[in-house]
């Protein structure tokens, strides 16, 4: 691959993509610093904090998918999105089921395993 002069349009596109990565980086930083900061420097109630951590994590995952992995809602190719959504469905079933089953067991039979 040799260095190549970019056309006007390509240059614009490159600029746009670079900005897109920077957005991704900025948003991720924000969504990382916020929960870390809250956990390190405040005495929030645990439950509130957990909700914030969870929400930040979910949003950050979406940010990464959008800005780093270029998963978009564009119409022409949906199979990537379908694949990810299907995986999320299976993941929810398996993980949700696991937690439900195990914690139900703990409650009935082994309370000492409750965190």
């Amino acid at each position: 691959m040799s260095y190549r002069q970019l056309s006007q349009e390509e240059r614009q596109e490159l600029g746009r993509e670079q900005r897109s990565y920077l957005w991704g980086l900025g948003l991720s930083l924000l969504l990382t610093l916020l929960p870390f900061g809250l956990a390190a420097f405040t005495d929030m109630a645990h439950l509130t904090l957990w909700w914030i951590i969870g929400a930040c994590a979910l949003v950050q995952i979406v940010v990464h998918l959008r800005f780093f992995l270029h998963i978009t809602l564009a119409r022409n190719k949906r199979e990537d999105l379908q694949l990810i959504l299907f995986t999320v469905l299976i993941l929810t079933l398996l993980c949700g089921g696991t937690l439900w089953i195990l914690f139900d067991l703990y409650q009935r039979m082994m309370p000492n395993m409750m965190p």
């Binding site: 079933l93 089921g97 089953i101 409650q107």
Partner: protein, 700 residues
């Protein structure tokens, strides 16, 4: 540490199957060790015969070039099926021994508990991981690309790696007959019984690594199949024009991709417990064995649908073809298949209703389980309606198919019974359960795969299988299954636990004897199957079907020569509807010569499968016996091979348009010279692989 210990780890003379007998000769130990040594001898002799035979014929080069390193999906498929058949033979013999033991098992019998434990563990592990999985993977490998009009799978070299990994796992199970022992933990390998503190020997480690090799292989195969079906369909082959077998292949592939990982986690964590002193499932220091059960079945239930869906696909093709009708309710069948695939991730708890969770949890999973019965029932009706008013030909695949419908419905009923938690509390872990799952697995998986062999064999090898021995085999399988497993329902209701080496209740005896006779009948069925193969090969010249369409087939795989050229299709066909080949025949335009031929690019041979397979086997064997140097060495080989593969640049070769044209025109001339036959002559020597076209008045 001595040098021997470094070199051989904990492998010593006591691993030989006759060691115990020599040290401590009692009546029982002699009998058991003689049986075990006989089995080990069979393995050694088998390996020697194969090596000697290939050398004598001077076929090593041929074997290497045309088979072991060939990325052709058809060759790979056949090799998978060969593995499956070999392992089937072993597992059936083991089943006969178990049945024989229980037939004389009142207050004793001839097998030790240890030996019996190894038998049901290897039997179950082999039947699931090294008979069922390679069989269906092989059939999908062979048939699916032909059905969708592709030249190969998306990742041919990965396909070789899958084959290598499965072969390595199967070889490991075989080697465990020579260097004992294997696990006694059942095919489920439940912790904490399989933890180091209860099972310090090599057995469980054999099991862990054999199963892991199989799991990796299946995950990779699943990815390969799914991507192929998504990306390599011929133009016009929309999803809803795919043959039903391909649909089931797709759903099975998806289940492999998402269903195998929980098993990887379960066996991986068990290995961490055993090798690195973790406490995931131990009885002390916070270990929780219930996590193992949960993880195992989060794999285990999708697994049973991985096994059964391809069989559903085979039967769908068989019913349509041998009834001379298009498949009834295609769309509904597809929907049902998809429903089953998704629902199969919501029911795993029905394997451990009795673990102690509350009634709410049990009820939810019980209801979900019963829900799966609905799409399955729908399928049964569709198959029956496909036969309804068709001209049904009772050929061998059809005997298996009809036997399947009758028996599978029975098994399904016992499944719905088991899905009721309160009933399950009564019969859990009893022979009722063993009867139930064999009632699904033998008519389902085994009959399905044997039907597939009978149905597609002429495509793969260019000659039909002999019918008489085929029929005998089919009927004996059906009879043997019924004799061997219907008594188990009764025994289960009487309270006989599964996996028991002997019993004290004389009321069991008549039933275990009948079951033993049934197992012998099944053994006879296996013998008929082998005879069928032998006779067919011997008389192959009478049964050639080079024209390629012996059954008046409907889907694309019948539109090529038998066997097909390695690139499958001289030009990729255009598809205009379901039952693509039948459409052509209906329109009077099958067997066309394309206007133009082009060069075809095909994947080049690769030794990756052999290398990864061999290194995988070495790693697994070394881990089992604690030969750490070999573990490191084989890991280095595997990583090195993967890196080296990245530097290979000649991954393809070209078949010239001219050669393609010559091959194709030769076949077309042969087709022209073949007399078409009516369905009534299908099983006679007149069947040379060309059907009377429908337009000429053949009654369909």
């Amino acid at each position: 540490m001595t040098v021997t210990e470094i070199l051989f780890g904990r492998l010593g003379w006591d691993a030989l199957p006759f060691w115990h007998m020599l040290q401590n000769p009692t009546f029982k130990s002699v009998i058991n060790d003689l049986i075990a040594s006989g089995a080990g001898l069979m393995v050694v002799l088998g390996a020697l015969v194969v090596v000697a035979g290939v050398s004598w014929l001077g076929k090593w080069g041929y074997l290497w070039r045309e088979w072991l390193t060939s990325p052709d999906h058809k060759r790979i498929g056949i090799m998978f099926i060969v593995i499956a058949l070999v392992m089937l033979a072993r597992a059936i013999v083991e089943a006969v021994f178990m049945r024989a033991q229980q037939a004389v098992g009142l207050n004793g019998g001839f097998l030790t508990a240890e030996h019996f434990g190894q038998l049901f563990t290897t039997h179950g592990t082999i039947m699931v991981f090294f008979m069922g999985m390679p069989f269906l993977t092989g059939v999908i490998n062979y048939v699916m690309p032909l059905q969708i009009g592709a030249r190969d799978l998306s990742f041919p070299v990965l396909n070789l790696v899958s084959l290598g990994l499965t072969a390595a796992g199967a070889a490991l199970v075989m080697v465990s007959l020579v260097l004992e022992p294997f696990s006694t933990g059942g095919w489920t390998g439940y912790a904490p019984f399989t933890e180091l503190s209860y099972n310090p020997g090599a057995g469980v480690d054999y099991w862990i690594w054999a199963v892991s090799l199989s799991t990796f292989s299946s995950t990779l195969s699943g990815i390969n199949f799914a991507v192929t079906i998504y990306k390599k369909r011929a133009p016009g082959m929309t999803l809803f024009r795919m043959p039903l077998f391909t649909w089931t292949a797709l759903c099975t592939a998806i289940l492999m991709i998402f269903g195998m990982p929980p098993l990887t986690v379960a066996t991986g964590l068990l290995a961490l417990d055993r090798y690195l002193d973790f406490h995931m499932f131990t009885t002390d220091l916070g270990g929780n064995m219930m996590n193992y059960v949960n993880l195992f079945w989060a794999f285990g239930h999708p697994e049973v649908y991985i096994l059964i869906l391809p069989a559903f696909g085979v039967f769908s093709e068989v019913f349509a073809t041998f009834s001379g009708k298009r498949l009834y309710g295609y769309t509904v069948l597809v929907m049902a298949t998809i429903c089953i695939a998704v629902l199969s991730f919501t029911v795993w708890l029905h394997h451990f209703f009795t673990m102690g969770q509350s009634a709410n949890v049990n009820a939810a999973f019980g209801i979900a389980t019963m829900l799966i019965g609905i799409p399955t029932g729908v399928k049964v009706y569709d198959w029956m309606l496909t036969m309804y008013r068709g001209r049904v030909r009772m050929s061998v695949p059809m005997i298996y198919a009809v036997g399947f419908i009758l028996l599978f419905v029975l098994g399904g009923m016992s499944g719905v019974i088991l899905a009721t938690p309160s009933v399950d509390y009564q019969v859990h872990n009893s022979l009722f359960l063993v009867a139930h799952f064999h009632n699904m697995l033998i008519p389902g998986v085994l009959f399905g795969m044997l039907a597939a062999v009978n149905y597609w064999f002429p495509k793969a090898f260019g000659f039909r299988l002999e019918e008489r021995w085929g029929r005998r085999a089919a009927w004996l399988w059906i009879l043997g299954f019924m004799l061997a497993f219907f008594p188990l329902y009764v025994l289960g209701m009487m309270g006989m636990p599964r996996r028991s080496v002997s019993f004290t209740n004389p009321a069991y005896l008549p039933w275990t004897v009948i079951a033993g006779i049934g197992a012998l009948v099944a053994l006879a069925a296996l013998a008929c199957l082998l005879l069928q193969l032998w006779v067919s090969v011997r008389d192959r010249d009478h049964n050639r079907v080079f024209a390629g369409d012996p059954w008046d087939g409907r889907s694309l795989e019948w539109a090529t020569s038998a066997p097909p050229p390695e690139y499958n299709f001289p030009v990729i066909p255009e598809i205009y509807g379901r039952d693509a080949f039948m459409l052509e025949k209906d329109g009077g335009t099958p067997f066309q010569a394309p206007t133009q031929y082009q060069d075809i690019v095909m994947p080049a041979n690769s030794a990756m499968g052999v290398i990864i397979g061999a290194a995988g086997f070495a790693a697994a064997f070394a881990l089992t016996w604690y030969m750490w140097w070999l573990v490191v060495l084989s890991a280095v080989v595997m990583i090195g091979a993967a890196i080296a593969r990245g530097f290979v640049r000649t991954t393809h070769y070209v078949i010239s348009a001219d050669e393609v044209r010559r091959t194709h025109e030769y076949w077309l001339r042969e087709v022209e010279a073949t007399t078409p036959i009516r369905r009534s002559q299908e099983q006679s020597g007149a069947n040379r692989g060309r059907a009377v076209p429908p337009v000429e008045g053949a009654v369909q």
